[in-house]
Each structure stands twice: as structure tokens, then as C-alpha cells.
């Protein structure tokens, strides 16, 4: 890969901290992260966060959150949604966000996978959502558009979101991991590709990056499971966010890529224990997916904010009667856009 050049000042790395001692996590990522500004948002149940020396890092606690958004809105940023506060207060163009239970992966040659370089390469090269290229991302070195790819579509569209993957523990749901407790993802698929227009996908918050200027308002905390827990098996906030942001990207003609880079995901939690909880998230998806499948936004929605507000109204109208959690999600989306605009206006 010949990565696009990375300017330190254009990146924020946002981590939602679920553990107090981030020392080993930060040390593992030091070779890759130390150049950049980090935003760590502490989950309220975690006591003081411990971070090693040598990083340019700002830690936000619940009182910081209350100062910025007010106490009534602070609950938007609890649990796995804490990182969204980092997105809100960042003023950088690109955000990279990973879970605090991930380590850098290694390539076949044994080098650390520099997720920042790869994600930025994905974001800085166009996406191609209107026609599938069988050699995957044509903008990668050594690749190109294949015979039969229309020339008018070869300039692509800006890439707004880059979804990375995971070696070792893939982001499976609890039933899958419980059924196959020893299954580990050992397959390094050396490709990134654009997720086609209108194709929906399950976004995993474990390893993502996005262009905050393009889709910041759509990277939102909204769907909170009643029994949301401290492990990914017990969340759906990222999956919902992914459905929203993909809808927004499709409407605004922006691209979403999926594939490299990989992170190495470590053991955390018990799939069997998570299984004992009600499969709330699983049931919700059965309603959410058909809704997003048929959702069409109006031509008058021309910004990410407009799109989110329109989607929220549709969620309330069409999904609200199915489950109260959708009503809360719709309200949270509207609140988020208000907060986003408010914080932006403070910058001017």
C-alpha cells in the first residue's frame, strides 16, 4: 500500500474507556498513536483513567460531559455511546475510533498494521458505490478498474466512512460465539472495497474511521438497548448508527468502505453469559432492517443534519409503535443534531 500522507493535525483518535488502567492498551498502540491527539471519554462507572506518559491526550469525564451538554442530555453518552462525546467535541477532519480491548494486528510480514495510515488511505481515496469493481478498491496500488467498468463512474465519490475488521475475535453476536467458542478469525483478507449503493451493512464500532466534516452529524448515539452492557455482545448502538450513516451516505452520494485495516481483538466477557440476557437487539434488527430498506429521503435533505432529522421523524412514525426503544432512538437523534449544531456554533 502506498498510503496517502498523514497530517498529524487532521486526526483525532477517540477511545471510549471501559477500564481504568489503559496502560497496556496505550503501550501497544504507542508506535501508531503517539503522533496524534487522543480523546479518551471515560465511562461513568470507571474510576479515574490511568494513561502512560508521552501521549497528547485529553480525558473527558462525566462532569465534562455535563458541562458541555447539560445534565439532562448526558445520558446520551453513557456506556458504549461515550465515544460519541469525543466526536462531538473534536475539531479535526478525521476521527479514528477503536474499542479499548483491541491490540494492533500484524501483517503477514510481521509488521504492525498501522490502522491510522490505512483508514486515512481509505478516506482520502474515492469510493465507488454505483458499480461493483471486481478487483475491489481500484485506487489501491496495483489495482484499477476492470474491463466493463463505465468510464463516467471512475472518478468515484468522496469516502466518508471506513469500516475496519478484526482478527482473532471477530465481531460476532453472542449466539454465534457461544455456539462456536473456539472460532477465531485467522483470515487476513487483503482488500478494501466500497459497500455498494443501497446495500445495507452491520457497522461495527470496534474499528472505524470517518470524515467528521462529511458525516459527523450522522455518526450518532441513538439506539440504546434496555439491557445494554459493557461488552459488544450487549450493544447495538453501532449497528443502528451504521444503518443511519449508510442511508445518509447513499442519499448524499458519499461512500462507505469496508475491509482493511484489521485490529487484533482480545477476549472480553462471556458469550454464554451475554446469551442469558434477552435477545433484544436481535429482535430489533428484524424491524429495523426492513424499515431502512424502504426508506427514501427527500431531495430537500441536502446536509447530513437534514438527513438525520428526516430519518428520526420516519423512525418515530414507522417504528415507534413497534418498540419504545425506537421512539427513544428517534428522540436521541434529534437531540444529537441540536447538540451538534450548538457545539459547532461555539467554534465560530
Amino acid at each position: 500500500m502506498s498510503p496517502a500522507s498523514v497530517n498529524d493535525n487532521e486526526v483525532d483518535i477517540v477511545i471510549g474507556a471501559f477500564r481504568s488502567d489503559l496502560t497496556s492498551f496505550m503501550e501497544e498502540w504507542r508506535p501508531i498513536f503517539s503522533r496524534f491527539h487522543l480523546i479518551v471519554v471515560k465511562d461513568p462507572d470507571v474510576k479515574e483513567v490511568k494513561i502512560p506518559e508521552g501521549f497528547d491526550v485529553r480525558v473527558y469525564t462525566e462532569s465534562d460531559i455535563v458541562k458541555v451538554v447539560g445534565s439532562s442530555k448526558a445520558s446520551l453518552f453513557s456506556g458504549y455511546s461515550s465515544r460519541y462525546f469525543g466526536y462531538l467535541v473534536s475539531n479535526k477532519k478525521y476521527i479514528i475510533s477503536i474499542d479499548d480491548d483491541c491490540s494492533p494486528a500484524k501483517t503477514k510480514d510481521g509488521d504492525l498494521v498501522d490502522i491510522v495510515a490505512y483508514h486515512l488511505n481509505n478516506l482520502k481515496t474515492p469510493a465507488t458505490p454505483f458499480f461493483f469493481n471486481t478487483l475491489y478498491d481500484p485506487y489501491q496500488k496495483g489495482s484499477d478498474f476492470v474491463r466493463g467498468y463505465p468510464f463516467s463512474l471512475r472518478s468515484g465519490v468522496p469516502c466518508a466512512l471506513s469500516c475496519g475488521l478484526w482478527l482473532n475475535l471477530a465481531d460476532y453476536d453472542a449466539p454465534t460465539q457461544a455456539l462456536k467458542p473456539d472460532m477465531r478469525n485467522t483470515r487476513y483478507v487483503d482488500a478494501v472495497l466500497t459497500v455498494p449503493l443501497k446495500s445495507m451493512m452491520p457497522m461495527s464500532g470496534v474499528n472505524i474511521a470517518f470524515d467528521r466534516e462529511l458525516v459527523g452529524p450522522a455518526m450518532l448515539p441513538a439506539l440504546k438497548l434496555v439491557k445494554e452492557g459493557k461488552v459488544r455482545w450487549e450493544t447495538m448502538e453501532d449497528v443502528w448508527c451504521g444503518l443511519v450513516v449508510k442511508t445518509v451516505c447513499d442519499h448524499l452520494k458519499l461512500g462507505v468502505k469496508s475491509g482493511i485495516p484489521y485490529v487484533w481483538r482480545n477476549e472480553k466477557g462471556s458469550a454464554i453469559d451475554s446469551l442469558k440476557k434477552e435477545w433484544e437487539g436481535v429482535k430489533l434488527m428484524e424491524d429495523a432492517v426492513p424499515f431502512f430498506e424502504t426508506l427514501r429521503l427527500s431531495r430537500s435533505s441536502v446536509t447530513a443534519e437534514d438527513c438525520v432529522v428526516e430519518i428520526a421523524a420516519a423512525v418515530k412514525e414507522r417504528l415507534g409503535s413497534t418498540h419504545a426503544v425506537f421512539v427513544s432512538a428517534a428522540e436521541a437523534m434529534v437531540e444529537w443534531v441540536k447538540l451538534w449544531k450548538a457545539v459547532r456554533s461555539l467554534d465560530h
Partner: protein, 356 residues
């Protein structure tokens, strides 16, 4: 979720699969494929001069058709089969009596995977065809039915059964399948990236299908795999597989069938002359700008429940909407109908509704 399967050996399907090979030169390449191809029946479609004798290496079970045979078997309908173009291969699909087809070009050889082992392309195609596709929701870990993979968190459970796979589209190491302009600009570029993935192309998404390394379920989608009018007497070449791919994908999307792309890789050894290619593709490069919106917008009525009825309906739309781009498309639309007539004549019993 994908059911936890122990690694069972892939069935050979040797009595259910034909290998269709168009050729105008020779079949020397078969020697390298012998360990993998020998159990299967080959259908050789000999293009060009029918008086030339094509040697088939010893030990292969095959039937060979030259232009005289095609004319004899199809009579006036032979007009739909291209001459002096590898598009003639689709005649092989029509005369086959098997459930599955694998087609490969005669300049494609066995590739090696990153561990240095020979890739059995046919075995991978069979795996792809025998496992479901997932066109309705994108799985970020690619084909969830492969060993070592599964559906990721958030993938709706109601979609985890998938749909039957109609087409398996393989890729190529070494000489990539570029168009002439790209070849001219990057004559030395080689595809060295082995991407260890198979994935379903989502519903509603079109792609450029390459006929060099392709397998399909003839019973599910055969009649849609017409490779068009190319070559001698035609204004265009190197768009045969593209045309088939776009028609096929619209029909698969309509009938709820899946299309996979990715593994297996073959080693593509011969780079065709880019100047010759440019002459063949030239019109296609312009026409494609009209064709793509046409196929993207194409819808088929609910009443079309068989591949043949879908295909005939498509040919009507081709005539109505593309006839004005060039008269070639009027001829092509007629040829599409001729193809279906010929297909049904040669395959009389296979008129069952497809897909569900």
C-alpha cells in the same frame, strides 16, 4: 447463523458438471489442468476455421463443436451464436445436459495460493455454488458459509439462510482483465494481490462479469447466460461477458438468486494486444454509458417467474430503449429471442419456475 460444519470434502460433481472451453488455437493448457479437470466432461467450442483440427490432449472425455456443427444443429438460429469471438462459448452452455457449467479461457492456467499450493479453481467454484448467497445484507466478513467465517453481529437472523447461488465469478492473478485504454496506460501492471475472500454481490448492484473463469448453475440461470453478438460482422467485441453479466444480474435480483465473486484465482498468462482490443471495445466504451443506466433501471414484472420469460421481457426492453442508441441493439434484441428459442428447443423439459 451459518450451521457449524466440520470440514467435509467438496463433492466432485463429475457427472453433474461440464467444462466449456472456447478455442481457436490449441488446448495445450489442459495439460496443466489435468489433475483437476480429467474427471469431467469437456465441451469444446471451436471458433474460427472449422477445417482446422484442434488436438485435445489424450485422456479427456469431450465433445467438440466447430462452426459447421453449430450451423447444422441450430439451422437458421445459428445466427445468434457469434463467430470469431469467444462469445461462441455460450453454444456450449446450450448443448450441455448437466446442472453446472464451468467455463475457462485457453490462456488461463493453474495459479498458486500464498502458501505455494496449486489452486483447484473448480473445487472452489463448486463450493461457492453449493453454498448460499447473501444478497440482501452485506456481511463484512464476506462469505459467511466459508470455513472459519460466519455472520457478524447485527446481521438479521431472518436473512441467514441466504438464497441459492446461481453464479460464481472467479478472478485472475498476473494479467488483470483491464480494458484497452487501461492496458495502454499500464502495460506492465500485474495483479499480484491474492484476496482470500468470496462475497455475494448485493441485490441491485451491477458488476462487470468476466467469462475467463466462471461457473454457474445452468438449471437456475442458464438461459440468461447468452454472450451476445460479437466478432465477425459485428460492430463490437469484448463485451460478450459484460452483456451476459448485466442481463444475468437483473434476472437473478428479480428471481432471488445469488451471485458470488472472488475466489478462485487462475493465472492469466496472455495479454491480448491493446490496440486490437481498443478497436473491438471502442463502441462499447461509449455505449456502456447508456447501457448501465438501462440495466440499473430495468425492472421485470411479477409475472416473469422463469428465466426465459425474464429474458424475453428484457429483450423487449432492450429493443424499446436501446434501439435508438444504435441499430445493433435491435439486432441484439432479436438475437436474444432467437437464443431463447434455440435454448428451449435443445432443452425441452427444463421449463420450471425458478427461484423463490
Amino acid at each position: 447463523m451459518a450451521s457449524p460444519s466440520p470440514v467435509t470434502p467438496t463433492p466432485l460433481l463429475k457427472d453433474e458438471l461440464d467444462i466449456v472451453i472456447p478455442t481457436i488455437r490449441n488446448l495445450d493448457f489442459l495439460e496443466m489442468w489435468r489433475p483437476f479437470f480429467q474427471p469431467y466432461h469437456l465441451i469444446i467450442v471451436q471458433d474460427g476455421d472449422p477445417s482446422k483440427v484442434i488436438n485435445v490432449p489424450q485422456g479427456f472425455d469431450y465433445e467438440l463443436y466447430n462452426r459447421n456443427d453449430i450451423n447444422r444443429i441450430l439451422g437458421p438460429k445459428a445466427s445468434c451464436i457469434s463467430f470469431k469471438d469467444s462469445a461462441c462459448r455460450c453454444f456450449g452452455y446450450m448443448v450441455s445436459k448437466k446442472k453446472y457449467i464451468f467455463t475457462i479461457d485457453d490462456d488461463c492456467f493453474v495459479a498458486k495460493d500464498p502458501t505455494g499450493n496449486d489452486i483447484n479453481a473448480l473445487e472452489q467454484h463448486i463450493k461457492n455454488l453449493l453454498s448460499p448467497s447473501t444478497p440482501y445484507f452485506f456481511n463484512t466478513l464476506y462469505d459467511p458459509y466459508r470455513e472459519g467465517a460466519d455472520f457478524v453481529r447485527g446481521y438479521p437472523f431472518s436473512l441467514r439462510e441466504g438464497v441459492p447461488t446461481a453464479v460464481s465469478h472467479g478472478l485472475w492473478l498476473n494479467i488483470p482483465d483491464y480494458d484497452a485504454p487501461t492496458q495502454l496506460v499500464k502495460p506492465r501492471e500485474r495483479n499480484t494481490r491474492f484476496v482470500d475472500a468470496v462475497l455475494t454481490i448485493p441485490k441491485g448492484t451491477l458488476f462487470p462479469m468476466c467469462g475467463m473463469n466462471l461457473a454457474f448453475d445452468r438449471e437456475l440461470i442458464g438461459p440468461a447466460m447468452y454472450f451476445g453478438l460479437m466478432g465477425d460482422g459485428q460492430p463490437i467485441g469484448r463485451y460478450d461477458d459484460m452483456w451476459a453479466g448485466w442481463c444475468m444480474k437483473v434476472i437473478c435480483d428479480h428471481l432471488g438468486l445469488g451471485v458470488k465473486t472472488g475466489l478462485p484465482y487462475i493465472w492469466h498468462s496472455k495479454a491480448s494486444n491493446p490496440f486490437v482490443n481498443l478497436k473491438k471495445e471502442y463502441k462499447g466504451i461509449y455505449w456502456q454509458e447508456e447501457l448501465i443506466p438501462f440495466f440499473q433501471a430495468a425492472t421485470l414484472p411479477k409475472e416473469c417467474t422463469t428465466v426465459q420469460s425474464c429474458y424475453k421481457e428484457l429483450s423487449k426492453q432492450v429493443k424499446a430503449k436501446l434501439g435508438k442508441v444504435d441499430d445493433y441493439f435491435n439486432k441484439l434484441a432479436d438475437a436474444m429471442l432467437t437464443w431463447i428459442e434455440a435454448w428451449d428447443e435443445l432443452n425441452p423439459s427444463a421449463q420450471l419456475p425458478n427461484g423463490k
